[in-house]
């Protein structure tokens, strides 16, 4: 097989990849958020964690596990699928609908903490708020995210942030978790090589 010789001049530009959080960092950040939730909610009474698929779900489960380790309280965990509430449904091929699974105690009158991996435009959270109001009436709603990368398009902010990452719009942030992807890591793609 004869391949054309590789170009000697100007090697192709590789998109740069930068690890923002390694596995140990992710677990420390989850621990810190768990502590913050306990602090801010005076012991996480009447609190429900709802994960937004995909990666918000394992994060919510981890937070609940850490909270019960730290203070011996059991926080109900659920799943809130937001597919049917997205504002960009018509811009893509039909998206598969995932399960919504609320804790048996429901969410009425509870403090609901939405959990997601990355906070970016805020549109996912907007959809989650709409979905939430159709399935019940929580006393209050808070938001916990592993990463806040900025560039909000809606007036939404997180109550608990694992890490603020200043990014350019062209860059992308990718969170991987052991439960969904095999390993814990947060990476920044496409940044200017330093």
């Amino acid at each position: 097989m004869a391949y054309p010789p590789a170009a000697q001049s100007s090697p192709p530009r590789q998109p740069s990849v930068k690890v923002i959080l390694a596995a140990a960092d992710v677990s420390r950040v989850v621990d810190r958020i768990a502590h913050q939730i306990l602090e801010k909610t005076q012991g996480a009474a009447d609190t429900v964690l709802l994960g937004i698929p995909t990666r918000g779900v394992p994060l919510a489960k981890r937070l609940a596990a850490r909270i019960s380790t730290f203070e011996d309280v059991t926080v109900p965990v659920g799943v809130l699928d937001i597919t049917l509430y997205r504002d960009d449904l018509r811009r893509h091929a039909t998206r598969a609908v995932g399960p919504t699974d609320l804790p048996s105690g429901g969410i009425d009158g509870k403090r609901v903490i939405l959990v997601d991996d990355v906070l970016f435009s805020g549109r996912t959270v907007r959809a989650a708020l709409d979905a939430l109001s159709d399935v019940g009436r929580p006393a209050s709603v808070q938001l916990a995210v592993l990463v806040d990368r900025g560039h909000r398009q809606l007036p939404i902010r997180a109550d608990y942030v694992g890490k603020n990452i200043p990014t350019a719009l062209a860059e992308s942030v990718k969170v991987t978790l052991a439960e969904t992807d095999g390993a814990d890591e947060v990476k920044l793609y496409g940044g200017t090589p330093s």
Binding site: D81, L84, Y85, L89, R90, R91, H92, A93, T94, R95, A96, V97, G98, P99, T100, D130, S133, D134, V135, G136
Partner: protein
Amino acid sequence: MIRHLLSGADLDAATATQILDTAAEMATVAGREVKKLPALRGRTVVNLFYEDSTRTRISFEAAAKRLSADVINFSAKGSSVAKGESLKDTALTLQAMGADAVVVRHPASGAPHRLANWVDGSVVNAGDGTHEHPTQALLDAYTMRSRLGRLAGLHVAIVGDVLHSRVARSNVLLLSTLGAKVTLVGPPTLIPVDIAAALAPGTDVCYDLDAVLPGVDVVMMLRVQRERMNDSYFPSAREYARRYGLDAPRMRRLPEHAIVMHPGPMNRGMEITPEVADSPRSTIVEQVANGVSVRMAVLYLLLGGNNR
């Protein structure tokens, strides 16, 4: 993703399974306080019914409304069809009104296929002549899956007037795609020659209901369509009921777990006795409830995204 749903054969196993899985999520909406989803907000669904129907039309209407679509009901009676308008002109009118989906029931087999060539929107076949009724097959499959836990490997007997039954045709196509085995049962006059081979290889035909019952997981009774009984397909209604009607003694021949289905409307005392229809094994009311969830899933998958 498919653009129209005209036949049970339009669906491959993956797409059909996706519809059933989506329907399972849609079903949870029925138990909520707010029985509405915003997914089809601003979309228009036209129910175009050239034949009388209660449950199918209401089911599609409820499904579209739960997804926040606007619904326009059009029945041939009291419309310009009564003045002689053709299907094509009606289609062009709907097109001009911006229908995103047309749900059509028509006495002529194949009418939805013609319609699909005339309008830009999606066409859903809600029953055409003696041809097909794919959403009924989907809701039947959904009901079987939720009662028995699986579809692959199930043995389903479809009993009665197969000749005129669009439900039977769509069910044979869909169930064989999903790995179930179908046996068609009925008097020889009501089972077309070679229908099994023509629809799906592996489908059996049997003229003796009692011989089939002990080995099936599902028995689906078809309605004897009196409006289509113009020839002498069987000597008398009483003889039909004796040989092919499902009564309590026959139901006891079924395996313990087997379920009894009927697409409705029933002729009680003809193909099914009231005792059987109202027994815990009967899924007839469940089928109606599942119909809304399955049609929500179909409308969402056809209209929810940009599939052009």
